[in-house]
C-alpha cells in the first residue's frame, strides 16, 4: 500500500513524466507511418485478392507471404533486424527516433491484415452494384469500400495503436526510452516498485484511452447510419 501511495509522489513522476513524452512521441510517429503504409498494404492485399478488383495471384501470394512472415516474427527479433535500417536512415540505433522504424515494421503487417478483414466485410453486392454503374476502381475503393468499412477500420486502427504502445515497451529495453524502458530499468532491475507501478498505470491509462476512443467513435458512426 505504501509503495502504491509512493507511486504517485512527485519524485517518482519526475522520473516517469519525461518517458511519457518519449512513449507518446514514438507511438504517434509510428502510428502515422503504420497508418499510411498499413493502409496501402491492406488495400494491395484486398485489391489483388482472387475476388478483388484487380486479381493478381502471384503478387497476392508473394505479398501476403511477406506480410505473414513479418507478422509471425517476435517483435524483439524485428527490432533487432531493423536496427541496421535505422542506422542507414537516421544514423543512430538508439533512442526513441531510432526505434520508430522497428515499431512501424512490426505493426504494418498486422494493420494490413486487419484492414484486409475490415474491407472484406463490405458485401460483394454493394461492390458489384457500383461496378455495374461503371465506377472506376479508385472510386470503388475510396467512395465505397473505405467509407462502408469505416467503423470496423477505426476499431482495428485502435487495436493497432495499442499493439504499437506495447511494442514501444519492448523497444524500451533496446534503448528506445519511454515508459517500458523506465519500468524495466527502475522497476525490475532496481526493485523500485513505486516507479514500476507509476509507469505501468500510465501505460494502462494510455491503452484504455485509445481503446475507448476507438470504440466510441466507431459506435457513433454506426449509430449515425442507424446500423445499431
Amino acid at each position: 500500500m505504501e509503495t502504491f501511495i509512493l507511486a504517485f509522489s512527485k519524485p517518482v513522476w519526475e522520473i516517469v513524466a519525461p518517458s511519457i513524452l518519449d512513449t507518446l512521441y514514438m507511438t504517434a510517429t509510428a502510428t502515422l507511418i503504420t497508418a499510411v503504409f498499413g493502409l496501402i498494404c491492406g488495400l494491395l492485399l484486398v485489391v489483388t485478392d482472387k475476388d478483388g478488383l484487380r486479381p493478381c495471384r502471384a503478387f497476392n501470394a508473394f505479398f501476403g507471404g511477406i506480410t505473414n512472415a513479418v507478422l509471425s516474427l517476435p517483435s524483439m527479433i524485428v527490432i533487432i533486424l531493423t536496427l541496421p535500417i535505422s542506422k542507414l536512415i537516421i544514423g543512430i540505433t538508439y533512442g526513441p527516433k531510432a526505434c520508430i522504424i522497428a515499431l512501424s515494421v512490426t505493426c504494418i503487417p498486422m494493420f494490413a491484415r486487419l484492414i484486409e478483414t475490415s474491407l472484406l466485410e463490405v458485401s460483394k453486392g454493394k461492390i458489384e452494384a457500383v461496378k455495374a454503374m461503371g465506377a472506376k476502381d479508385m472510386d470503388i475503393i475510396l467512395k465505397v469500400m473505405v467509407p462502408e468499412a469505416l467503423p470496423s477500420l477505426i476499431r482495428n486502427f485502435s487495436v493497432t495503436i495499442i499493439a504499437l504502445i506495447s511494442v514501444t515497451a519492448i523497444a524500451g529495453s533496446f534503448g528506445a526510452g519511454g515508459l517500458g524502458d523506465i519500468a524495466v530499468r527502475y522497476g525490475y532491475q532496481r526493485f523500485r516498485s513505486d516507479i514500476l507501478i507509476a509507469a505501468v498505470s500510465t501505460l494502462l491509462v494510455l491503452v484504455e484511452f485509445i481503446q475507448i476512443t476507438g470504440a466510441v467513435w466507431s459506435k457513433r458512426i454506426l449509430k449515425k447510419r442507424h446500423l445499431i
Binding site: 458485401s123 454493394k126 461496378k131 454503374m133 461503371g134 447510419r225
Partner: protein, 263 residues
C-alpha cells in the same frame, strides 16, 4: 418487324472451377423490343442472374453475342464499356444501397463518378426522388428505411443517369406483397412515362403476370418457351411453365385441404 432493342444470339456462359466446367447458359437466343417490360422466369439455379450479369458485363460471355441498342457489348473498348455500363440501370433483391450514404447521396453516386456538377446533381437527384416519391426521406440513411423504401431508392439510383435499359434481378423478392405491388406499379409507371425498356428477372409467376408483356422461360440455361405472357400461361408447353402454373394454383388449395384433413 422492327429491329429488337436487345438481342442475344447463341449466348454461352461456362463457369470453370479447378478443372471442372459448369455450363450455365447453353445457347440463349432472345430478342427484346424497345419499351417492353420483358420477364425472364425460371427456378433457382436456372441461370437468370448470370444472364443479367452478362448484359451489364459483370460477367463476360464465352460464346455468341449480346447487342444492346447500338452496343455490341463484347467488342467495346474500356472507355466505351464504362460509358455503356453507365447507360444500364440495375436493381437488386438485396437493394445494395451504401449504408455510409444518405438516400440523396446514394442516388447521386452514379452522377458523382462521372463528375457532374453539384448543381446538376442536386436537380437531377431531387427529380428522381420525386419520381419514386421519397423526397421526404432524402437525408435518411438506408438503415432507417423499410425494404420497399430501400427499393424505391434503388430504382431512383438506377434511373438517375438516364439509362436506356433497366434490369431488375428479383427486385421484389425480399418485399412483402404490398410493397412488391407498389414497386411493380412504380416500374410499370416508369416504363409508361419514360418508355424505358425493363428486363425483369423473377421466380414468381405473379410478378410476370402482373408486370410483363412478354416472357421467356429459362430452364437449366436454356430458353424453353417465349412469347406473350397471356399466350404462354393460357397454353403452356414447357415442363417448367406447367410446373410454375401448377405450383401457383395448388399452393392455396393444398394448404386449405391440409388443414381440412387435420394433418
Amino acid at each position: 418487324m422492327s429491329v429488337p432493342f436487345i438481342e442475344f444470339k447463341n449466348v454461352i456462359k461456362t463457369f470453370r472451377q479447378q478443372d471442372k466446367e459448369f455450363p450455365v447458359l447453353k445457347g440463349i437466343d432472345l430478342s427484346i423490343e424497345e419499351g417492353d417490360i420483358f420477364g425472364i422466369i425460371g427456378f433457382s439455379g436456372a441461370g437468370k442472374s448470370t444472364l443479367i450479369r452478362c448484359v451489364n458485363r459483370l460477367e463476360k460471355i464465352d460464346g455468341g453475342s449480346i447487342r444492346v441498342g447500338n452496343y455490341d457489348i463484347e467488342n467495346l473498348s474500356p472507355p466505351e464499356l464504362n460509358l455503356y455500363k453507365q447507360k444500364i440501370g440495375i436493381i437488386f433483391q438485396q437493394f445494395n444501397l451504401l449504408d455510409s450514404r444518405t438516400v440523396f447521396k446514394n442516388v447521386s453516386f452514379p452522377l458523382e463518378i462521372v463528375n457532374k456538377s453539384k448543381k446538376e446533381i442536386k436537380e437531377r437527384v431531387l427529380e428522381l426522388l420525386e419520381l419514386v416519391d421519397i423526397v421526404d426521406k432524402k437525408d435518411f440513411y438506408p438503415g432507417q428505411l423499410s425494404g420497399g423504401q430501400k427499393q424505391r431508392v434503388g430504382i431512383a439510383r438506377a434511373l438517375v443517369n438516364n439509362p436506356f435499359v433497366l434490369l431488375s434481378d428479383e427486385a421484389t423478392s425480399a418485399l412483402d406483397p404490398v410493397s412488391s405491388l407498389a414497386v411493380l406499379d412504380l416500374l410499370k409507371n416508369i416504363n409508361k412515362k419514360l418508355g424505358l425498356t425493363i428486363v425483369l428477372i423473377t421466380h414468381e409467376l405473379d410478378v410476370v403476370k402482373y408486370a410483363c408483356n412478354n416472357v421467356a422461360i429459362l430452364e437449366e440455361g436454356k430458353i424453353v418457351e417465349k412469347g406473350k405472357v397471356r399466350d404462354i400461361f393460357l397454353n403452356p408447353k414447357s415442363k417448367t411453365a406447367n410446373l410454375f402454373i401448377n405450383i401457383n394454383e395448388n399452393f392455396l388449395r393444398n394448404d386449405w385441404a391440409d388443414k381440412g384433413e387435420g394433418i
